[in-house]
């Protein structure tokens, strides 16, 4: 049995206790942008319940055009007004460089990705970089409440980046 099959079995048990439907717009008007890391259980970390907040995740929790697209939809169509950014300690993005990653793909496939890998060396600095990209975007209407954090995978604590 594949892992996917196992998760499907878990979902059948989950559905038995599920009480839907909830409204589409997030109740707390928050959008979270976090790294995809397997140790970031965003619901546990923030105490998020069903229907409260959008959760947007990618490698690094970095702000790319796809995050801007998702946040534009979140704010303009679905009424969110606050943004939480979450990077974390021991992140995979700290362990390589864009050049080396793209070189390895090019060597193997003959094709160099046209996108940036978005590796970084300093967590706080990359959170600030992500905040700055949001503030610079003309497509995000609400920018007063953008806050950035680093999650410590050892302690489970969020530390705000100022």
């Amino acid at each position: 049995m594949s892992v996917t099959d196992e998760y499907l079995k878990n979902n059948a048990a989950y559905a038995e206790q599920f009480s839907g439907p909830l409204p589409l717009p997030p109740a707390s008007h928050v959008a979270v942008v976090a790294c995809m890391d397997a140790r970031l259980n965003v619901y546990g970390i923030l105490g998020l319940k069903e229907g409260e907040a959008h959760v947007i995740r990618n490698a690094g929790g970095v702000v790319t055009d796809d995050e801007i697209r998702s946040l534009a939809i979140s704010q303009r169509l679905l009424g969110t007004t606050e943004i939480i950014l979450i990077h974390h300690t021991d992140c995979g993005m700290l362990t390589f460089t864009d050049d080396a990653f793209k070189r390895a793909i090019q060597d193997e496939t003959g094709i160099k990705p046209e996108w940036a890998a978005e590796a970084f060396t300093d967590l706080d600095e990359d959170v600030r970089q992500s905040v700055a990209r949001i503030k610079a975007s003309p497509f995000i209407p609400r920018k007063d409440a953008v806050r950035g954090f680093v999650f410590d995978v050892a302690t489970g604590k969020l530390n705000e980046v100022s």
Binding site: T4, Y14, M36, R39, A145, K157, E160
Partner: protein
Amino acid sequence: MSAVDDYVKNNKEYALTHLGGRPVRPARQVAIVACMDSRMRIFPMLGLGDGEAHVVRNAGGVVTDDVVRSLAISQRLLGTREIMLIHHSDCGMQKTTEDEFKGAIEADTGIRPPWAVESFGDAAQDVRQSIGRLKASPFIPHKDGIRGFVFDVDTGKLSEVI
């Protein structure tokens, strides 16, 4: 107090019972790609434990360059092999069109986004589209374990898209 302040307070409690020391590589070698929708709490929905799987999310759960980037890092650097795609019923992406959404932004800001909104009509059809994009990408090495699902926000159940 803003919602974010509440979440920061919730995190203090979470940290009391958090178990650190898990490795960066996902233990079950799975990457999940899902919509950002607030009604999909991925961890309980699939019975995911901390450290098991990467979770990549955006508006729609659609496959964009940023998702390909994240999955390339997930598979090539962090050893995942299976991919689960999850769209859902009553999705915000079904409530707008490319031209309507981009036209509204242009009317407000004077600037038309250079990216596609990625709105869609039929969730199952868009899951197939996302699988097609993954299979076509030269940057994703492992494509044998890709499966797609639609989550029903009324019942909490996942249905596989064949």
